[in-house]
Symmetry: C2
Subunit: 416 residues, 2 copies
Amino acid sequence: MEGRLGANGATADDEVTSTVLHLIRTSQARTRSELSRVGNLGRTVVSRCIRELIDVGLVIDGETTISNGGRAPRELCFNADAGALLIAKFGATAVSVGVTDLAGKMLATAGSAWQIEAGPDESLDYVVETMRSVQPKAAGRRVWGVGVGLPGPVEFATGRPTSPPIMPGWDGYDVRARLGVVFDAPVWVDNDVNVMALGELRAGAAVGERDVVVLKIGTGIGAGLISEGHIHRGAQGSAGDVGHVPVIGTALDVVCRCGRTGCLEAVAGGAAIVRDGSAAAADGSSPFLADVAAGDRSIVVFDVIDGAAHGDSACMTLLTTAARHIGDVLATIVNIYNPSLVVLGGAVTSAGDSFLATIRQQVYLRSSPLATRDLRVVRSTLGQLGAAIGTAHMVLDELFVAGCLADGAPLWDLLT
Amino acid sequence: MEGRLGANGATADDEVTSTVLHLIRTSQARTRSELSRVGNLGRTVVSRCIRELIDVGLVIDGETTISNGGRAPRELCFNADAGALLIAKFGATAVSVGVTDLAGKMLATAGSAWQIEAGPDESLDYVVETMRSVQPKAAGRRVWGVGVGLPGPVEFATGRPTSPPIMPGWDGYDVRARLGVVFDAPVWVDNDVNVMALGELRAGAAVGERDVVVLKIGTGIGAGLISEGHIHRGAQGSAGDVGHVPVIGTALDVVCRCGRTGCLEAVAGGAAIVRDGSAAAADGSSPFLADVAAGDRSIVVFDVIDGAAHGDSACMTLLTTAARHIGDVLATIVNIYNPSLVVLGGAVTSAGDSFLATIRQQVYLRSSPLATRDLRVVRSTLGQLGAAIGTAHMVLDELFVAGCLADGAPLWDLLT
């Protein structure tokens, strides 16, 4: 109840309208009488809200449903075509841009290589340009919100990156102001693993779950934590920073990019696998990778995955070792966080089932029996698009679940 | 907004009344005009709510405040004397029982040794008897709710212990039914570290914080996690089970009561300190503890703390080693969870400041710079009563923040 009314300047009426919209949008209620019953609202109130929502185009009177006597009730539908969202999701070396409808469905996407190190001005100029190139696919719909996912910690309330280690020049940058003025729309920004987790929660493997850990195993390793259906971001937005949890036992002499030794990321992330794979190519212990290295390009993580699939034992050992370290740290996370579901995503999870099986095995071995009793460990179902889809859902959640704009004004201000 | 209206059978009117009560109870609004402004509510609605709340005795018209012209507004006060709560907090070997007012203030307490191993029937019989002995201090006030803290995981929604490792016979036991029928009041049950964390959040060191880790270092070691002002309980209610996180490097051969090796609790909990202290007494490496052991009682953790305070170097080493292990695991928790505050409680934290300083040092050494940038690590301010006070606040939160009874009925059902 804290801050339920008035916190964002919404009136009690706005709140009720938001509730009605939420019930229709999430298909919890499809008719006026269902709204009245599910929402515990009077008929008059429901009628007023629906009129308002139809007026602003967010709800349409749909098909007539089957009646149980008397006049057949009409079904109410959320109108996802009432507007569009623009989203951008940065990785360290690539950016995906898209335009979606108000249900988070991608209408068009554009992806390209991009060095986030280029800094915020150049990077966001490029994003604006790319967003403008996909925007026509929204066919003139108004832009209701802009979402950005960044590969570093973000202070969600302000949308500013917070001391991001691989994003020089971005610390404290006002991403909101930069994009908001261009598209005249509210802007939300979050960490890429958090939006990936939200994507799985709203549209992927974690739909309907309440306590979830989404682990991204890419160049680096990070987790998105969901507590009772909400992203747990932490005090500085750096929750889920599991790449620098020390691993047990072996490899304690490997220095991480953070300056400490024995970090998970330094022994099991994509970059670590490439580093060790390159060494295995050089010393001849991996014939498969030696062949790749003899060509005209550097080894990438997919070469190691490919090698393992072709039976190269050095590649198989590299992946199994990485999986064991990841499983050990994941076991600690499971003990501490007690999720019902762990979703594994990121490029490295395209390694075969034995990679996932090893992770699972370590989790079950090292976590408490209670924490693993009903625990499922699954692969992301959204794959590469997960974070982009999640970025759209971040905007939708803020607009329609929190029911307020980036500056705290109620959603309805957008319409007036 | 999810489930905001209707989820618990409350009407929209009930919800508004709950909001008004919440604003008065938390001193966010003290007059009718403040309620109107802060709650974004019409004057008529505010007046109706206040009338209802005064009628049921939860709000009283207090002193006249200073007016800025016109008739002086009267200050509204929450009436904490309108009812009472009964609470019981079990440890492994002791139970505290109390009666509080509706603000969580202890009116009377009774504590005694009690083996939780006695099982639920005998233990709860004893609690009922003790609650009846303190209840007269509530001077005939109606019992609004009963709260129980247990030393094991609890499924909060049903109040049933879930495979608790040190509570034979309690698994799945219906604590609610047992106590609810005796006191004709709703009953809530949670893990002892969760209620301890809630105590710190509502009335202790963590007031006003949003992301908090409360670490209890007693016989065992456990954590209560607060995410955006709410307890993160996890899927089985076992979140915060940090006692079985493996420690790095040393002592990996120590077998834990959970059957695995190298668990934090097995090398740094109170029981581990006592075990190692007894060994130090036996082999003569601790003259201080050898003296204690020569008497007629076994060594307890306070002897080790006492020895360290008296300069016994074996005792000092035991505590420093424990602190270092605790700090290492806490660093991992800080990386994963990114709290703004860590509160340390439990018997072992009565060890001197150097114990806490060592924990802090390890956390700052092993956590990421961002996660520790504004992190504070402090001692509990509630001390031994923390979990009992927190148990009362668990009941108050459910009654007045969630605004519903244990069976999901709205709070107002209690009054009709």
